[in-house]
């Protein structure tokens, strides 16, 4: 059935359709609307689940770990600082192989504190052993949750569905929510790989020393890689049951004859595709590639999809301070041995709008062969230069963020 829904409401309803046993979360913007909605569904008996208001994100995921370990379907949601506060448990849930599903309403990480969207939170846990899926639209956010539970429980790994904060979570779009029977068909009852059961007691969470730790990690790698086979299979099933385009590992757009391919994750693909459409209309051979499954990284699929491109532009909403683009690094590793130039474009940090015009400028440069290796999209050069000058002038410069704000104030005053 079609609804006009806020993204958070849609995600909440999708999660409810997955019949979680335990929902536990701690409020943080921009995740709040999701758990508020789930809380209301439980309170109004529309969802039969344990809804627990945790005392912190660390507790929220810990509650989910406990629930999952007794074979309950567990769900939580967070963002940004909240994800970092649960960091220890993030790794733990993965290490224990517990099929928890988490919605990450992507948001920047402070300091400076910032509640708006980017992907630095998701990137901070990319090595934790969770499956990370990125939603391009609210519809995809909905559909990815069905897939997430099915995938998590089949492989006994935790899955994180990354939904851009505010951009998706707080925007109202038309969303098609399937009937409960359809979701039930997509998602069989949870048969846990391990469960704490008094009738068959096991100890979960042993200490493993050097003698077996490498093997444990190797097996985790093998298991997570299995998702690269399972996701397309589940996607196929979803397509047939939902009757619409369903998530895949990656999603190509106008790739067939594209020389320049723009690669990105999440909602920014919408703007990118608009720009691609515009530029194609003008005769440029440009296409786009959406990475839906960031972990495990579908290197082979990416390599195949990009095999005929001559130049790549990676638009990413996070970067590794001290090095550069994170997705770009993964892409370049996937293309090992090929000489395709890769340009990284850092965009949309801390909620900075990613304008179509700005992207178009970058893509045009790429087509012209004049794009530099690294671009910070719409960087206020004068502001940065002023601070750099100050830093050069005095060794004791103070916090850069404060200084930049002061400069902004000065600019405002002089204007």
């Amino acid at each position: 059935m079609l609804y006009q829904l806020e993204g958070s409401q849609a995600v909440a309803r999708a999660v409810a359709l997955c019949r979680p046993d335990v929902v536990c979360a701690y409020p943080i913007s921009p995740q709040t609307h999701i758990i508020e909605a789930l809380g209301a569904l439980v309170k109004s008996d529309q969802l039969d689940a344990e809804f627990i208001n945790a005392d912190s994100e660390f507790s929220a995921l810990s509650v989910s770990i406990g629930a999952s370990a007794v074979g309950a379907r567990a769900y939580t949601a967070t963002a940004s600082q909240g994800l970092l506060f649960m960091m220890e448990a993030v790794y733990n849930a993965a290490g224990l192989g517990l099929p928890i599903v988490m919605t990450l309403a992507n948001r920047a990480i402070g300091a400076p504190i910032n509640i708006w969207n980017d992907h630095s939170d998701a990137m901070s846990v990319r090595d934790s052993g969770w499956v990370q899926l990125f939603a391009e639209t609210n519809q995809e956010a909905v559909d990815l949750h069905f897939l997430a539970f099915a995938l998590a429980e089949e492989l006994s790994v935790p899955v994180m569905v990354c939904v851009d904060g505010f951009i998706l979570t707080h925007s109202i779009e038309r969303v098609d929510l399937p009937e409960p029977e359809v979701v039930d068909a997509l998602l069989p009852p949870f048969l846990p790989r391990q469960s704490l059961d008094p009738n068959d007691p096991v100890s979960i969470g042993a200490m493993v020393g050097p003698e077996a730790f490498t093997e444990v990690r190797y097996l985790a790698q093998v298991r997570l890689h299995q998702a690269l086979d399972v996701i397309p299979r589940l996607g196929e099933r979803h397509r047939s049951l939902l009757g619409r385009h369903a998530a895949q590992l990656i999603d190509g757009y106008e790739l067939d004859d594209a020389d320049v391919v723009v690669i990105a994750m999440g909602s920014v693909l919408g703007t990118i595709k608009d720009v691609v459409d515009d530029m194609r209309a003008e005769g440029h051979r440009i296409g786009a590639l959406s990475i839906t499954c960031f972990r495990p990284f579908p290197a082979a699929a990416v390599r195949e999809a990009l095999s005929r491109a001559t130049r790549l532009v990676v638009v990413e909403k996070a970067f590794s301070i001290g090095y550069g683009g994170i997705l770009s690094t993964d892409i370049s590793l996937a293309l090992r041995g090929l000489s395709t130039p890769i340009h990284e474009v850092i965009a949309g940090l801390g909620g900075r709008p990613v304008w179509a015009d700005s992207l178009r400028g970058v893509f045009s440069d790429a087509l012209a062969g004049t794009l530099v290796e690294t671009t910070f999209l719409d960087l206020d050069r004068s502001l940065v230069d002023a601070e750099l000058a100050r830093m050069a002038a005095t060794r004791r410069s103070g916090p850069p963020a404060e200084n930049v704000l002061r400069d902004l104030a000065d600019v405002g005053r002089s204007a």
Partner: protein, 338 residues
């Protein structure tokens, strides 16, 4: 012949020894049962004379009996976790989960919720951790579990420092005690005196249905508290003093004796509380000065001279004043109203 007779209800070792062949089987301790759960079984790697290993088996076996073996345990990181489950061996004979150091209470909440949500609400949940995992790093999740009144019995095995990492000070380390981070050097050797974290009282401040303290020296008291706790649903807290030969610098055979002295000196008050009010105390039976407790432990060695006489009178007097305060506060010399 008008002689007053003592009624015969006397059981020789009364309720102080583990077992008593003179008592009806159903009234005996869980530990005296040859078929006891042995929740923590042999082969674990705890130090010789470990009070925590003893306390854990005492508490969990009692909980197993009370729950008819329908029990799940969640364990914080710490000695108990490390010595019981080094791959490829586990000493646990009940379903057991270790997640992290500071999250045992929250994990237990999840276990309870998960069991309830999947139609297994009859299975009971115990969370357990050391003093560090409880009073320090795990206090937030513990407080949350209390505040929500989740159906979990949380058991703290308090050995008064971070023993697993090599005896560093924790929030429950007593004043003057030597630890690796409060060495017995300088003008005020050992741990500084402060309020410490009185976890049972912090728990009581949440007004949860049940809070109790116990030691490994009084098995019947400990078991009865576990049993009482298991009769109740909601958040419950049991704080058990478990001497640590390694960290306290005591002889391994003195573990139970030290726990007994901690109670008899008044340094560790043994009581029960419901909804924030103390409802019973376990009275001191044979009062002892704090010296007799301190003298047996190397962590307090700097308070004594080589002959074992008190050298630092002021500090010992201060410790005695803490004990006396407990005795007054809880009425530990009075009769139990239990």
């Amino acid at each position: 012949m008008s002689i007053e007779r003592t009624p015969v209800r006397f059981y020789q070792v009364g309720s102080f020894a583990v077992g008593n062949r003179l008592v009806e089987v159903e009234r005996r301790s869980a530990q005296s049962d040859p078929g006891r759960a042995n929740s923590l079984t042999s082969g674990h790697r705890a130090c010789a004379g470990c009070g925590e290993a003893l306390g854990a088996r005492y508490a969990l076996d009692a909980a197993m009996r009370a729950s008819h073996h329908q029990l799940v345990a969640v364990n914080a990181t710490g000695c108990l976790e490390v010595f019981s489950t080094p791959y490829p061996e586990t000493s646990w004979r009940l379903p057991w989960l270790h997640s992290l150091f500071g999250n045992a209470a929250a994990v237990a909440t999840g276990v309870a919720a998960g069991l309830r949500a999947t139609g297994r609400g009859h299975v009971r949940v115990v969370a357990q951790g050391g003093d560090g995992g409880t009073a320090d790093i795990g206090l937030g999740p513990l407080s949350g579990m209390f505040e929500r009144n989740d159906d979990v019995l949380y058991i703290c095995y308090d050995n008064e420092a971070y023993m697993n990492t090599g005896v560093q000070r924790s929030g429950t380390t007593p004043g003057a005690a030597r630890t690796a981070t409060t060495e017995s050097v300088g003008e005020h050797p050992g741990n500084r005196f402060g309020q410490g974290k009185d976890l049972p009282r912090i728990a009581m401040a949440h007004e949860i249905p049940y809070v109790a303290t116990a030691t490994v020296a009084d098995l019947f008291d400990l078991e009865s508290k576990v049993e009482r706790a298991m009769e109740i649903h909601g958040a419950r807290y049991l704080h058990i003093l478990v001497p640590c030969p390694l960290g306290w610098g005591s002889v391994s055979s003195d573990t139970v004796r030290l726990a007994r002295l901690a109670h008899q000196t008044g340094l560790f008050p043994v009581f029960e509380a419901r909804y924030g009010e103390v409802t019973s105390i376990t009275p001191i039976r044979r009062p002892e000065p704090v010296e007799s407790y301190l003298r047996l432990q190397k962590r307090f060695a700097h308070l004594f001279n080589r002959e074992g006489e008190v050298a630092d009178r002021a500090t010992v007097a201060l410790i005695q004043s803490h004990a006396s305060h407990n005795i007054t506060r809880y009425g530990l010399l009075g009769d139990s109203d239990d």
